[in-house]
């Protein structure tokens, strides 16, 4: 079977299928988690957000919330969340909210404002009410990489930077895909019994290539990344879901989001964040947490929600975030194609389970889904170790080892810190060592510097690539023996970082960006390099 799409859904499907003994090929046109999977809040919803408006999604969320805390411990940080009521909000909504949560089995505990403030000092002190729910943060990049890693450990093959350009059809049956290698342009055909379309918003185009229509609904959501942890709990507004009303502490940073804007299919690859969106995010964000107004903003980014348009809601707010699993044989009379879409980052496992159940049914395989109980690679032990000894041991590690342990969980055992050079930091902001970079290149399908970012947090910190890009390129060039390729990668990496900084380029972030430019342009001569190639093209 072939899974199209290296987002969280595709990765989850590939893993589930591999665990059930299928021969799997995962095809992704860019890198893992480059679409909506890597462009979201990283929020492990308790389901509370949807309890009032979409109880079906809420119930899916709460179930998956409990499962992911067990199977993806290295990706999840159990922060808990607050739903706060501000003076301008209707406090009556809180009662409805708590009742709705309880109805679908979400723990929701009403707190008085003083308690909430003591629990989360960053929250707006003028709150009139708060409810505590089991929200958490989840690292989407790690989640995708871990699923892919486990799929590969169970025999799956993975082709990143390979685009599906055609679905091979024999009569009323899809029998394979034609893929194009993005680097070489080379094309090849892969035959299989079933293709699972897990391509997110691009699934619309994949379906179209197979000659079927799925009316999908691209809704762009923008977010801002703040320089450090401002809050320790997820902070939500206790009201009907609206713009910029969730602040998530994600790894070393805090994230405010999102906006929601309907866009056309021409725009789904642009991911531009506008000045108006930045305004809304900041204005609304400071209502949740006033200190955001004085916190350095690292960057802005946007993703496109792969919603399935089943009504004409112009803002895409009341649309169901429920899971859509389509058997195109049943729906369109086309055998060999399954589409799995809708859903959310955190219901990916359930989506994968439903798609894999369907695949197995179609192939006459009876093995059962085990992903709800089988931990992902890395999830075995908790970061700190519950024991005193575990704590002491963790404390005694050097920065690069701590960073690796925090990100890769028990898989960090495979990262070899043998020579002192292995401990040297490539990315100082995010404590990524030479050894971790090597591990990501060797074991986690990282082909480019931007992929290393998604595997390790390289360049995601305060300096946004200023210090680490060149060093990582050095490690990569050494391992691959390809200095030219690595150098070209640096330019791409820095350009990609700048794209995110530009919408919020003021204050210290602008100084940083300017400094980065001097460094790469002036000191490293990267600007000249680009100019030279421009001249050649002329």
């Amino acid at each position: 079977m072939v899974v199209v799409g290296g987002g969280v859904t595709g990765a989850g499907v590939a893993r589930d299928c591999a665990l059930r003994g299928l021969r799997v090929l995962l095809v992704e046109r860019h890198d893992l988690a480059t679409g909506a999977s890597g462009r979201n809040h990283g929020l492990l919803h308790s389901g509370a957000r949807y309890a009032v408006t979409d109880p079906e999604s809420a119930a899916e969320c709460v179930g998956e919330n409990h499962i992911l805390r067990r199977i993806a411990r290295h990706c999840v940080e159990p922060t808990d969340g607050l739903f706060i009521t501000l003076p301008e909000d209707d406090l009556d909504y809180q009662r409805l909210f708590v009742e709705s949560c309880h109805r679908v089995g979400i723990e929701a505990e009403r707190l008085d404002p003083a308690e909430a403030l003591a629990m989360e000092p960053a929250v707006n002190p003028s709150i009139v009410g708060a409810v505590r729910v089991p929200d958490a943060s989840i690292d989407p990049f790690r989640l995708v990489a871990s699923n892919v890693l486990d799929a590969r450990l169970h025999g799956a093959e993975v082709l990143t930077y390979h685009e599906v350009v055609e679905l091979l059809r024999e009569g009323d049956r899809i029998v394979g895909v034609r893929v194009r290698n993005a680097a070489t342009g080379e094309q090849r055909e892969v035959y299989c019994r079933i293709v699972v379309n897990a391509a997110g918003i691009w699934g619309h185009l994949i379906a179209r290539r197979a000659g079927v229509e799925i009316a999908m609904f691209p809704a762009k959501g923008s977010l801002l990344v703040f320089g450090h942890r401002v809050n320790h709990m997820v902070i939500n507004r206790c009201r009907k879901p609206a713009d910029a009303d969730i602040l998530v502490p994600g790894d070393t940073i805090s994230l405010i989001g999102t906006t929601s804007k309907r866009i056309s299919f021409d725009e789904i690859d642009l991911n531009e964040v506008t000045a108006e969106e930045v305004d809304v995010l900041l204005r609304e964000g400071t209502k949740l947490c006033p200190s955001l107004a004085t916190t350095r903003i690292l960057r802005a980014y946007a993703g496109v929600r792969p919603l399935v348009a089943d009504d004409n809601d112009p803002l895409g707010r009341s649309i169901s975030r429920g899971i859509v699993c389509l058997d195109h044989a049943e729906r369109d009379g086309l055998e060999g194609l399954v589409t799995i879409t809708g859903g959310k980052l955190m219901t990916y496992r359930l989506m994968a389970e439903r798609a894999t159940d369907l695949v197995c049914r179609k192939l006459g395989i009876t093995s059962l889904c085990t992903t709800a109980t089988t931990p992902l690679p890395g999830s075995k032990e908790e970061l700190k170790g519950a024991s005193r000894r575990g704590r002491k041991e963790f404390l005694s590690l050097r920065a690069g080892e701590k960073g690796a342990r925090g990100r890769h969980g028990d898989m960090a055992e495979n990262i070899r810190f043998e020579r002192s050079k292995d401990r040297a930091l490539v990315c100082e902001c995010e404590q990524v060592s030479v050894a971790e970079i090597r591990y990501a290149i060797e074991s986690l399908n990282a082909d480019h510097l931007v992929d290393l970012r998604r595997r390790t947090r390289l360049g995601m910190g305060t300096c946004q690539g200023h210090l680490c890009a060149m060093r990582a390129a050095g490690v990569m060039a050494e391992m691959r023996g390809d200095a030219e390729g690595a150098l070209a990668d640096v330019a791409g990496f820095i350009d990609e970082r700048w794209r995110g900084v530009r919408p919020v380029a003021w204050g210290a972030s602008l100084v940083e960006a300017q400094f980065t430019q001097w460094f790469y342009d002036g000191v490293c001569g990267l600007g000249d390099r680009n100019n030279d190639s421009d001249k050649k093209e002329e």
């Binding site: 970061l383 701590k402 902001c429 305060t462 210090l467």
Partner: protein, 418 residues
Amino acid sequence: MKLEHKNISENNFEQCTKCTICTLYCPMVEVNPLYPGPKQSGPDGERYRLKEPMYYDEGLNYCLNCKRCEISCPSGVRIGDIIALAKVRNRKGLPTVRDMLLSSTVSVGSVATRMSGLVNRSLESERFRRGLESMVGIDHRHTLPRYAEESFEEWFRREAAEKQSCYSRRVSYFHGCYANYNDPALGRELVEVLNAVGYGVRLLEGERCCGMVKIANGRKERAMRDAKRNLVAIRRAVAEGDKVVATSSSCTFALRDEYQYLLGLDNEDVKDSITLITRFLFRQWERGNIKFAFREDFRMRVAYHSACHIERLGWAIYSTSLLRLVPGLELEMLPSRCCGMAGTYGFKRENYDYSQAIGRPLFDLIEASGAEVVATDCESCKWNIERSTSKRVMHPLSILAAALDMERTRELNGVMDK
């Protein structure tokens, strides 16, 4: 909200543009690969510690608190403070016996001066120091400062206090533990010089240790208690129109900056009234408020070493300008380098080698210089340089006292001889 407060976080840690110049200026980085360096220990590490305190890197304990990182920072990030606060937060349980001993400057000092003969003899004995090393971890190779037979305060009460009211102008003196217990001569010289230029001196009521060594040894609560008492005393003196002068650059720095940034005490009302004696004297001289008459036969070749905390204050210029007023004094500026001592840091067994390695280039420069005397405003630099080089080390005020013709100075300033 004022515009300048926008985007300014505590200790400016978000203002870091990752230029890494601080790491270049860090004396510890030069000698110790286990120290992550100020950038990584400070603003970088702080992000991880905010995420989860377990990311605290034990390598931070190597930080000298010299603040040279802060001096070098073009973005005004208080890197040293970020590190110092992280160390304090990470400290759990009681300090070790060694750290208690080293940081209890008042209790140890008051006992040691009473039995100074025995204490000094013991400290001179290598066997005793080896015992001290194996028992508590104070490196035996380091000579510990000698204790005086009589504290400065005792001398002052007996000999000087009464006469101070004859002067028309007055300052309060924060002597610090070193001048009080180890070098009362420095305190006596301060009184002599200030009296000669027409200033009466009084002590603060109930002066406590400035707290610098207590903060460095993880005893923030005790430091806080002392700091609050000192501020009460300083406020009283300032309210009565006094400037508060100190001879120790580190005490001065603690009273002015560490109180504000590390202890979180509001000292804004008195900060500008706390100053270093050399700065006070030079500025008074510059304004024509006081005059100096120097001995004609005075000759001295002096190399000035700017201690880390005077460097952070930006005040080395006052000490050197004062020294330059002395005819017959040849002044050589040593390149600004940490001597490695950093208060109690260099005494500790685990730090000794790093401390000496940091100081080595400075010691070599001192040996190679033509100077007879090294001048510095910091007592801990004085101990370290004296034991590590062949030169004598003096406080600039002591040099001034030696160079002044006291009788003529008193006349010039209209002070009647009693």
